[in-house]
């Protein structure tokens, strides 16, 4: 009974997504697949990514498609399930996709990626940020999103530039992102002459950070800066309890907290600096993207995952154009040699990067409930911790 009712709901949900997701295309056009988690725990990331992909697709088709051929997107829901991610990838391969976008999280991305790898179809995760992902699957797997080690290095460079000597890092081993990014930060921070005085650990979804906060208050030497990649609901709970305990140490976060919640936190979030994939300064491509997004969807964009989804579709289009063919190995080689592809968040380069792109990292500060641009950074490659 459960089976029947959940399956029906899943089918309805998948139907909604697909109905919204499939572009009208010539059956002789180019087909791109998206095996994403549009329901379940990845929905907060893959749904906005899909919106961005869709917007890019509209623009590409309006401009005449890829190599003059219309582009069609086939969207299938993995329900954020790793086993389903492999099944769905196989279905997409059978439908003849020439490139595949896979889920935002590493595990389902690997599950889909190995199927695409075996079929020699290039694939890329919409927003997984673990830099070791492409190497884990093979030469047909690419990253799209700003890698964790890149963000960690930029945050460390900023922290040292502010004269911070001692850092406290708070991590969670529940996901590679919440564990590795703070570790990359710590590694880069120490390589630049700083000291990590203590490492705290939390469990994702833990409501109560009082034990960790009490420990931070008792540290000697007390830290000059706290870095964490916790995001909601953990980050708001942590910073509220930290500030309530009277600890005003500066806090550095990463792109996970780039969300309206952070800006609605009020005084406690004041001064928090976080990294993300770009800042929509006046006249920038990102500002143009935001305007096009609002025009298409009727609501303002509230996350950067839409822009990075848009970027990925543009990268795939550039790779196919450069290959001049829809042959998998040719697209793969062209993709691996892309340089300075102009996208919504700036420019992206894959050449000589082992399929983990170099893209800009922006630092932003929360000020009066608004986002203030600290600057765009591309750290010295020697300072980026190895994956």
């Amino acid at each position: 009974m459960l089976h029947a009712s959940t399956t029906r709901i899943a089918a309805v949900a998948a139907g909604l997504v697909v109905a919204g997701g499939v572009a009208q295309g010539d059956s002789h056009g180019i087909t791109i697949g998206y095996a994403g988690g549009f329901t379940g725990y990845l929905a907060p990331y893959d749904q906005p990514s899909l919106n961005g992909v869709q917007l890019a697709l509209d623009q590409i088709n309006e401009a005449g498609g890829i190599m003059g051929m219309p582009v069609e997107l086939v969207v299938k829901d993995t329900r954020s399930d790793t086993a389903q991610a492999a099944v769905v990838a196989q279905e997409l391969i059978e439908e003849g996709v020439v490139a595949m976008i896979v889920s935002c999280d590493v595990d389902p991305a690997v599950a889909s990626g190995v199927m695409a790898q075996a079929a020699e179809i290039p694939s890329a995760s919409s927003c997984a940020s673990t830099p070791s992902l492409p190497a884990a699957v093979g030469p047909y797997m690419f990253s799209n999103y700003t890698a964790d080690n890149l963000q960690g290095a930029v945050l460390a460079e900023y922290a040292r530039g502010q004269g911070y000597e001692n850092a406290y890092i708070l991590l969670s081993r529940d996901t590679p992102y919440t564990e590795k990014l703070p570790e990359y930060f710590g590694e880069a921070f120490e390589a630049m002459g700083g000291t990590v005085v203590a490492v705290g650990e939390y469990t994702m979804g833990q409501q109560d950070f009082s034990a960790e906060v009490t420990n931070i208050g008792g540290l000697d030497p007390s830290p000059d800066v706290i870095q964490t990649s916790a995001y909601e609901p953990d980050f708001p709970a942590f910073i509220k309890q930290l500030r309530a305990a009277g600890i005003d140490t500066p806090v550095l976060g990463s792109d996970g907290i780039d969300s309206p919640t952070t800006f609605a936190l009020g005084d406690v979030a004041e001064g928090v600096v976080f990294s993300n994939a770009g800042f929509a300064s006046p006249g920038s491509a990102l500002e143009a993207f935001e305007m096009a997004y609002e025009a298409k969807y009727g609501t303002p964009n509230d996350t950067v995952f839409t822009a990075t989804g848009y970027d990925l579709m543009m990268v795939i289009a550039a790779a196919i154009e450069a290959a001049g063919s829809t042959d998998g190995p040719a697209i793969r080689d062209a993709w691996d040699n892309l340089e300075n592809v102009q996208v919504a968040t700036g420019s992206i380069t894959y050449k000589d990067q082992n399929r983990v792109p170099v893209r800009v990292v922006a630092l932003n500060q929360v000020s009066g409930g608004e986002r203030v641009h600290v600057g765009d950074f591309s750290p010295d490659p020697s300072m980026i911790p190895a994956p």
Partner: protein, 294 residues
């Protein structure tokens, strides 16, 4: 010593939220033998109600009242629509029904509202701390401890003094015999669900004040914690659920505070191991009675 007392207050505050949730689960379990896994989603409903109420300019106090009322009504509706038709089926059917209700709610939230979290602004006075004899107690912590204490007192009066309350306690001991005494089963069950919704609503408000946002899946983890608390306290015992909630919070907070760094990654496993050891020593739970173990 100061740190010890501080952590004690921390555990008391977290335990309050666990206790409220566990008590809600235990109320329904005591009359129906059902662990309602959609219980956490009532917290999510409270969150969305508050989000829309604040968005409509109703102000925080009214939003809180509406949020709790919505969770209460939703719990009663859930019973009427989903659980009453399968009340006489076996417990596995009811358990699966509750998982189905939970999944359906997740899908509806994700597809009709948003998969992305929605911010619930918390006024700045709630974020400060009060100095009590050298201890910094957060305002939210203080509210959580107070709300739990008041609700527990009110509930125990209700359960001891009102006919429905006495009927619920009787139903917890033996539902068929309670019905033979002329007590309306539907009224008892609906009251149990209504109260569980009320408790989930209050716990939801306290939790939302800490986390500052509502998202479709936020109810899942708390219901798991509450489930552990209920089992630890003793399935079928209302007092046991409260004790279990506090016990779980004390174990969690003190492990996080005092485990050496190298052991921190294992804190959850140590917590659950301690729970298992406690259950091996007292299989009926901390205050469960042997005849209540189902």
């Amino acid at each position: 010593m100061d740190i010890l007392i501080q952590q004690f207050v921390n555990a008391l505050s977290l335990g309050g939220t666990y206790a409220l949730l566990a008590l809600g689960l235990a109320m329904v379990f005591s009359v129906l033998g059902l662990i309602n896994f959609a219980h956490g989603d009532l917290m999510t409903l409270t969150g969305y109600t508050m989000f829309f109420a604040i968005g409509a300019g109703l102000g925080l106090p009214l939003a809180v009242v509406l949020g709790i009322a919505c969770a209460t009504l939703a719990a009663v509706a859930m019973e009427r629509v989903a659980f009453r038709p399968v009340r006489d089926a076996n417990t596995a059917t009811m358990l699966l029904t509750s998982l189905a209700v939970s999944t359906i709610l997740h899908m509806l939230f994700q597809n009709l509202i948003s998969a992305r979290p929605r911010a619930i602004p918390v006024p700045s006075w709630m974020i400060g701390a009060v100095d009590v004899g050298g201890l910094a107690i957060g305002v939210i912590q203080l509210m959580s401890i107070t709300a739990t204490a008041l609700l527990l007192i009110a509930l125990s009066i209700f359960l001891r003094r009102s006919i429905l309350g006495i009927a619920m306690r009787a139903a917890a001991l033996d539902f068929p015999v309670t019905r033979l005494m002329g007590i309306n089963a539907n009224a008892v069950v609906a009251t149990a669900f209504g109260l569980s919704g009320l408790l989930a609503g209050v716990a939801g408000v306290l939790w939302l004040a800490q986390r500052g946002s509502v998202d479709p899946l936020m109810g899942f983890l708390p219901v798991l914690k509450a489930f552990i608390a209920v089992v630890l306290g003793g399935l079928g015992s209302l007092a046991g659920a409260v004790v279990g909630g506090f016990a779980l919070a004390f174990i969690e907070v003190f492990l996080r505070a005092f485990l050496p760094d190298g052991w921190l990654p294992f804190r959850e496993s140590i917590t659950l191991t301690l729970v298992i050891v406690l259950l091996l020593v007292r299989p009926e739970g901390l205050i469960g009675r042997r005849e209540n173990v189902r």
